[in-house]
């Protein structure tokens, strides 16, 4: 089809190629890095739906990432010790099945997003940013002061949850699960943004007054996008918990919200695979430069500055521009 599609496919194929290559070469650690890129990319794909397509600058997506993680951690730890999670109003037992945990993680995030979105969408601009941040920080402090699930120390679980027919401990098989979900989320985003709903969402971002004048209310459209966005990011949180077999309040912290936003901006706001490219570059830098200097994030900061100032389309936008130039030149 078009250049956009090709660039998106190449980015995804590169990620898979790195993981497969590392697997063949017997470098399990690199496979895990690629898995981390897929998971954080997925978190960014979630945020991109709200931020990129809907113009909703949420500085609180760590809330949903953390909710996904904690739901996973709580189910897994209860499965280990056999105590029910809830006895009232109904009995809810722990579980080790990813296929059972993911819907719970996404449902919990959807409910939280419905509440947070309904309140924060009454504001806009910088107030929206602050309200979403405030909600995420509230949950962060709640997690810290909740000794039942580890409080400040976080919650470890010793067995990675299971997926039918696969050995989730094998790095390449766990990568396959994460990459598969990433592909699904990308497909979902591609379809939704081109649907009637996507048309309306992007219209409300660009010109709310005009959208209203053709009979489209912005708030329900935005709230829907916000909830879908949160669900995708929560799924990433669940995968991240299983990757580390550990969750901690830092998943809820504003640093996390900032990182997810960095993936989106670095890769390209409103570009389908932008967050994947952004997360991959982030992890690459962290891996290559982290051991050299603790201040590697200064370089990241410079990159981000350069992108925001000179290439608002992000890495994907730059690539597309370069391709166009070679085609015409």
């Amino acid at each position: 089809m078009n250049r956009d599609l090709i660039v998106n496919l190449v980015i995804f194929a590169l990620l898979v190629a790195v993981a497969l290559g590392a697997h063949v070469a017997g470098q399990g650690f690199t496979v895990t890095l690629a898995t981390k890129a897929a998971i954080l990319g997925l978190a960014g794909v979630g945020l991109n739906l709200a931020l990129g397509y809907g113009g909703l600058v949420s500085f609180g997506h760590a809330a949903f990432f953390g909710i996904g993680g904690y739901v996973t951690g709580i189910f897994a730890s209860h499965a280990a010790n056999g105590d029910p999670i809830l006895t009232l109003p109904f009995t809810l037992m722990g579980s080790n099945e990813m296929l059972g945990i993911w819907p719970m993680a996404m449902l919990a995030a959807a409910l939280a997003a419905l509440l947070i979105g309904a309140l924060s969408l009454r504001t806009s601009g910088v107030y929206f940013i602050m309200v979403t941040l405030a909600f995420a920080q509230m949950i962060y402090y709640f997690a810290i002061s909740w000794p039942r699930y580890g409080g400040e120390d976080g919650l470890s679980f010793y067995v990675r949850n299971s997926f039918p027919g696969l050995n989730t401990f094998d790095p390449i098989q766990y990568f396959a699960i994460c990459a598969g979900l990433l592909a699904l989320a990308l497909l979902f985003t591609a379809v939704v943004t081109q649907s009637r709903f996507g048309l309306a969402l992007q219209a409300t971002r660009q010109n709310e007054q005009r959208s209203t004048a053709v009979g489209i209310r912005a708030t329900p459209v935005r709230l829907t996008a916000f909830v879908l966005s949160a669900m995708i990011t929560a799924l990433a949180g669940a995968l991240y918990a299983d990757l580390n077999r550990f969750v901690s309040p830092s998943m809820f912290s504003w640093h996390m919200s900032g990182e997810i936003m960095v993936f989106v901006i670095l890769g390209g706001v409103g570009r389908l695979c932008g967050p994947v490219a952004g997360a991959a570059v982030f992890i690459l830098l962290e891996h290559l430069l982290g051991p050299v200097s603790d201040h590697w994030q200064a370089l990241l900061g410079l990159m981000l500055l350069a992108i925001v100032l000179f290439a608002p389309g992000g890495l994907i936008g730059l690539t597309l521009k370069a391709l166009r130039r070679t085609e015409h030149g």
Partner: protein, 249 residues
Amino acid sequence: MADPILSIRGLKKSFGALTATDDVSLDLFPGEIHALIGPNGAGKSTLIKQIVGEIRPNEGTIRFEGQVIDRLDAAARARLGLARSFQVSSVIPDFTVLQNVMLAVAGADGHVFRFHRPALSDRTLTEPARFHIAHAGLSGREGTRASVLSHGERRKLEIAMALALRPRAFLLDEPMAGMGLEGAKQLTAILSDLRSEAPILLVEHDMDAVFALADRISVLVYGRIIATGSVAEIRANPEVRRSYLGEEA
């Protein structure tokens, strides 16, 4: 005379000590172009905003096709067929002409929460959109991004979007603003044609256009309608001449 499509009674709106709309009543009848004129600051835009539902009046009632619409928000009023154009052209800049009009079609039929079918291959959107684009005189520009359209083309796009709402009444806020002489002439012809679709409440500064198009004229001064009548009546009205047309009576 037939029942009015749009009927405004006793509308009042003040901002603090400033009375922007002072007991305004006016009707828009089927098939007519009713021009609303008045000096800058007379409250024309404030009146339009109250009709479309962007701001709430302090007092008064607005009926649209017999139904009281005071409690409806702007989106709901648009879906009833109250089609509006803006003083400064307002379109979705990164959308193509086709996507802009498709958006209006989708807004009008009320089915925005559909998530899987690609909008561009949805013929219930594209076919009406193409029809309205042709009607507004923009054929051949469907794939052009709205942000690169000329001023006149953007006006036509707004008209295509208004048509897509299956309008029962048009509210056009200074459509001639910023148009060249030739463009204004063209647009006058289009508006005259538009009257057969639905009646038009036309806010306009361009007196040539107003006198050429309007069946009736209302003159708004300091938030109050000082006269309503035919073109000839308004031209002859001494109070209008004094307060607006700028002549000594």
